[in-house]
Amino acid sequence: MSKAINFEQIEQTEEFKELKRQKYKFIFPVPILFFLYYLTFPILSAYAKPLMTKLVIGNLTFGYLFGLSYFIVIWTLAFVYVVKARKYDRMIDEIVQKYGPKTKEKGA
């Protein structure tokens, strides 16, 4: 099945290179920034205790709310990723249509 696909030709196409460019400028920076944002939590907890223990809403402390913010942020990023990935899916579809094997061979 794989023999019907010309991988080297596809790799050299402008469409495929564009797909990789689009993907890379999103999928690498976001996790790196998130990683740094995540590491601020233990650092603040260690060196900014008064801030973390400050009551913000009712009896909820800043530290607790800051901790909860990670859940909100990570779920939001997951949603953003899904939206972006749909765009990549469309780019992939075009590449497959144009350079991929003919439909009847696609089988698996």
Binding site: I10, L19, K23, F41, M52, N59, L60, Y64, A78
Partner: protein
Amino acid sequence: MDTAKIFGIILFGLIIALTMYVTYLASKRTTGTQDFYAAGRSLTGFQNGMAIAGDYLSAASFLGIAGLVALYGYDGFMYSIGWLMGYIIVLFIIAEPFRNSGEFTVADVISYRLEQRPVRTAAAFVTMGITIFYMISQLVGAGAIIHLLVGIPYEVSLIIVGVLMMIYVTLGGMLATSWVQIIKAVLLMSAMLVMLVFIAVIFKFNLSSLFGSIINGSEIAGLGKIGGQGISFLEPGQLYKNPIDLLSLGMTLILGTAGLSHLLVRFFTVPTAQAARSSVIWGMVIIGSFYVIIGIIGFASASLVGEEAITAAGGGGNMAAPLLAQVLGGGAGTLGGEIFMAAISAVAFATIVAVVAGLVITGAGVFAHDIYTNVIKRGEVDQKKQFQVARLAALLIGIISIILGILAKNFNVAQLVTYSFAIGASSNLPVIIFSIYWKRFNTPGAVASMITGTSVTIILILLSPQILHENAIYPLTNPGIISIPAGFLAAWLVTLMTKPEDKDKVYAEMSVRSHTGLGAE
């Protein structure tokens, strides 16, 4: 009291019966290697998302983290957050290309465009290391918890868990394993949601009044005086004294999740990269909810049960959640209280097995698919023989695990599972990322990274306070802060110091396949 015990046993029996029935159905559909390792790639994204949650959330973490929060407040909560954060890397960088590039095991992806035998062998050892640490932590934790909850001896409960998982895996392969994990995820989340509703009613759907009861103490009709730990309970530093250690643990969790072999192989059970994507999303929704709710359960247990009673029950806080269930159901000695506690215990007992089954099947893949089929026989084994070897491997791993679990009885298991994450982050993650995304990456770089990452991790563990106590040479309990950069650096430096491999053609194939799914199995 007796009614509650009988109820607990009936519930436990029902769960076993249900999972056995699922295994029976799965065994009829498991006829070849693709079924055995990858559930015939028949799962939907949602099903696999639930299975990921069932694979990842152990009953031990349910009981353990609730206990940490209940006893150490803020620090326990801080600890609970890291477990979800690694999924950002799984989702953005790993899941889809990983699904597209592999067949059954992590080594399939890593060795795709590199020298098969050295890379596969190294990758097989890395996965075994991750799986063994994870397995021992699960089994020892399970044995201790079951002993505490149900009162049967440690060794007996280990054998029950071991025999169950061997039946699931050898007969039903990945399909049965997946469904056991799905059932477990549903049970665990339902149990937690029921507890959450009870808690919400007591505190009038107001999180602030739960915290108020901890800071100032309060009086609730029927429950008397509760809470009153004071604001210091919400202050950092009750459990973790060394901020660098905490940083190291944080790094290990966020980078290690994407390197856990037993989690990664779950992506081979879905048909497409899109399904792999949606399974991570569902997994993140369920796992995230779990960690939010477990924090609330922990704080509620601190308030309603209290530190004294939790500590008195033993197990280093492990009883915080079951004791809370008892209070929520009406208190000790009441029928409602005892039934609620028995139900939580039965769910915890019966669901422990799901995580272990996932580990066994991952180990079987390494032995049968990587070592036997591809390294020893160089791929020249027929389907039927491979299938037999895989089942045999699962059986052997099951037996070895039970023995290891019994031998490791007195180990401090709290740390063991984070060691799995450390090996995953410093040995698996660099080679997976580089083999997918870095064209220049070569065989010496991959092997060097896996050897360096794993050996630095293990050496630092051996030099840490866990093993050497006050004579520790390495001051931190977690090796990640050193071993992760070491694994990445070794991959990068050794690749640049050695000759490029003349493999443009295979790289083109892997690159196109991983990004587009063309030619994916």
